[in-house]
Symmetry: C2
Amino acid sequence: MRTSHFLLATLKETPADAELVSHQLMLRAGMIRKLASGIYNWLPLGFRVLKNVERIVREEMDKTGAQEFLMPSIQPAELWEETARWEKYGNELLKITDRHEHRFCYGPTHEEVITDLARREIKSYKQLPMTLYQIQTKFRDEIRPRFGVMRGREFLMKDAYSFNLTEESLKEDYQIMYDAYTRIFTRCGLKFRAVAATTGSIGGNISHEFQALAEAGEDVILYSDSGDYAANIEIAEQNGLKEGDKSPDGKGILKTARGIEVGQVFQLGKKYSDAMNATVLDEKGQTVTMFMGCYGVGISRTVAAVIEQHHDEHGIIWPDELAPFQISIIPMAMHKSTRVKLASESLYKQLTEQGFSVLFEDRNERAGTLFSDHDLIGIPHRIIIGERNLDQGKIEYKNRAAKESQLIDNDQVMAFLKESVTIPK
Amino acid sequence: MRTSHFLLATLKETPADAELVSHQLMLRAGMIRKLASGIYNWLPLGFRVLKNVERIVREEMDKTGAQEFLMPSIQPAELWEETARWEKYGNELLKITDRHEHRFCYGPTHEEVITDLARREIKSYKQLPMTLYQIQTKFRDEIRPRFGVMRGREFLMKDAYSFNLTEESLKEDYQIMYDAYTRIFTRCGLKFRAVAATTGSIGGNISHEFQALAEAGEDVILYSDSGDYAANIEIAEQNGLKEGDKSPDGKGILKTARGIEVGQVFQLGKKYSDAMNATVLDEKGQTVTMFMGCYGVGISRTVAAVIEQHHDEHGIIWPDELAPFQISIIPMAMHKSTRVKLASESLYKQLTEQGFSVLFEDRNERAGTLFSDHDLIGIPHRIIIGERNLDQGKIEYKNRAAKESQLIDNDQVMAFLKESVTIPK
């Protein structure tokens, strides 16, 4: 992709209303633009990162054997009345009336719709366990949307639902999802803790949140400094624990940290299947109510959480797997030097053919402007091509995370990049 | 994927309220399930086809240099008031009021939002031409939703928007999109005609619809039986043309046909950019209003249109590129024969490793049930493995579109399938 025709919308100034670093950088890098309170356009640069998170989530879901499908965003009120959540869910539920005066909501979550589908389509224990997932736009009418896509109203989410014959089978699927989430957030380059959590408006018995550790996080967690214990503050306080206490598992001392909830898994038990009568026939031909689990990843929010952990004073520093482009090529004074232009265009062509995604900087701007733009948008691998280095048969390479650049022999560039860059599938 | 744990939801009976063949088959094959009037769940089988159409559309859009991004589904009323469409668009616009009494709609199309974004972010002629596209769920509150996803309320659409400095440049981008649409619908296996069209509530000067030819189509087109002329009936009648007339280009006689509109392209001119003041600076530093084009593909509807053209009395016949799985393996009496089981499992493993997508029939059901299920869901390539043929070192192959099956030497199966099956990327 050439920058001249790419919708690169970098800003020099930090927008006044953005408090969090991630929100500031997403606006300044031209990843997102606000349309209305809590509602954002994802510009091409941001969209490429969003798609990378989506791809990682999809790959890890598919590995578990979960089946992708798609439920509607618009859901009838009647289903929500079956579980009493039409009233209980509160004002975050965006209620809608259609032209025929039928009542709907814009789905903030899909337990009712999936349970309705399951009671109609899953009939026998032979089909269990079964896990279905979707990647879909959701809407929660937050009273005070803030922090950009961190607490937006319209957002992209992956939600999965497992159906199980027994509680034991539910616990197995829960562990499979827990492990998949661990792989997802690890691949996203996040430092995170899975913490015991309350179940809130979703309900159920057992739940864990996946908390990306960040000072900017809205959640507080209590964790053992040398053991496995970790819980969100509500759970910890329910159990009479506070910072400085010994960990309940006997290992280490409890400390607090702030976190951004990027995922949550729930053992719902029979909350929805009981309320909505979702049953199957078991081996003896008897009607039994299914156990359910549900498992969410905040895809939009994960993008912001990664930025909170991966940036410096100049901008974003993308992990390879999430980067909107893996490599940027910045030719120096290309519009004056045919040699630089030819060498740059040739490398661009080669790298693209090798399957790298490359941002080619062909704007006729000052070098300083170009470098600060590329620092800001955080492409991890940068190639700089200039007359002087070409004289020596060299090109300059700079890793976004490194302080210094290095010179590489022209004929070693491809081998070097193949070694250095992780190519997402 | 094994059928035992796949949400295969085939129906023996044709649902009473489904008129069109595509609607009947999508329900019977378990591709979709109705949630509310005009609102459907896409079950895993249907979702895989939907994703294949989406993949083809994305590949062809990317080839044109268009940039993918994502706009919100929820749009503020104020933008629609700038173009006067808040009132003019009529009752198909699903209007929503949020908890703070702010007015929004669920986007049925995105001209207002993209024009607002463009006026804020595109500043110079140097950035033009630029084409942006998204693949997104839209909502039109049809007064009488019908024919399943053919005229649903919530649906998946690709919408692209081009921004141009001159009308000439707009015409170039229009042709690029026209050509891309031709490739898209050709790859989807559709017989279609691009016809001159009226511009309706979208507006603009010049427009073409891409009409998949089908008796079940709601649209009527007039076309030359031996020339290039083709128009929808409104345009033809405006020009005083009717069936049996000579074609206006002098080539052939005009005939009528019915069509399903699967795509439409528009030269919007300055309709939106004038109303919303979307300007750039030109080479002389003067403010000029941009020209715009917009280009839509009905992704959900395309799935239904393909079924209208590709089915027989037993079910769907998927073109390879759209098939939910390329190959199905049906072992005969696998639950009694270890040999059949071993041979089938081994082939399943090999084919999967080679990158084919395979549906492995491991349910313990009568052969007749299995065959009619696989006929119904329309997997194009079928392998049947049974004791008798194994004795001869053969397996049976049947193409869904062929009447007869054929025997293939066991050691030739892989080569045969590599030859016969188109693997989508």
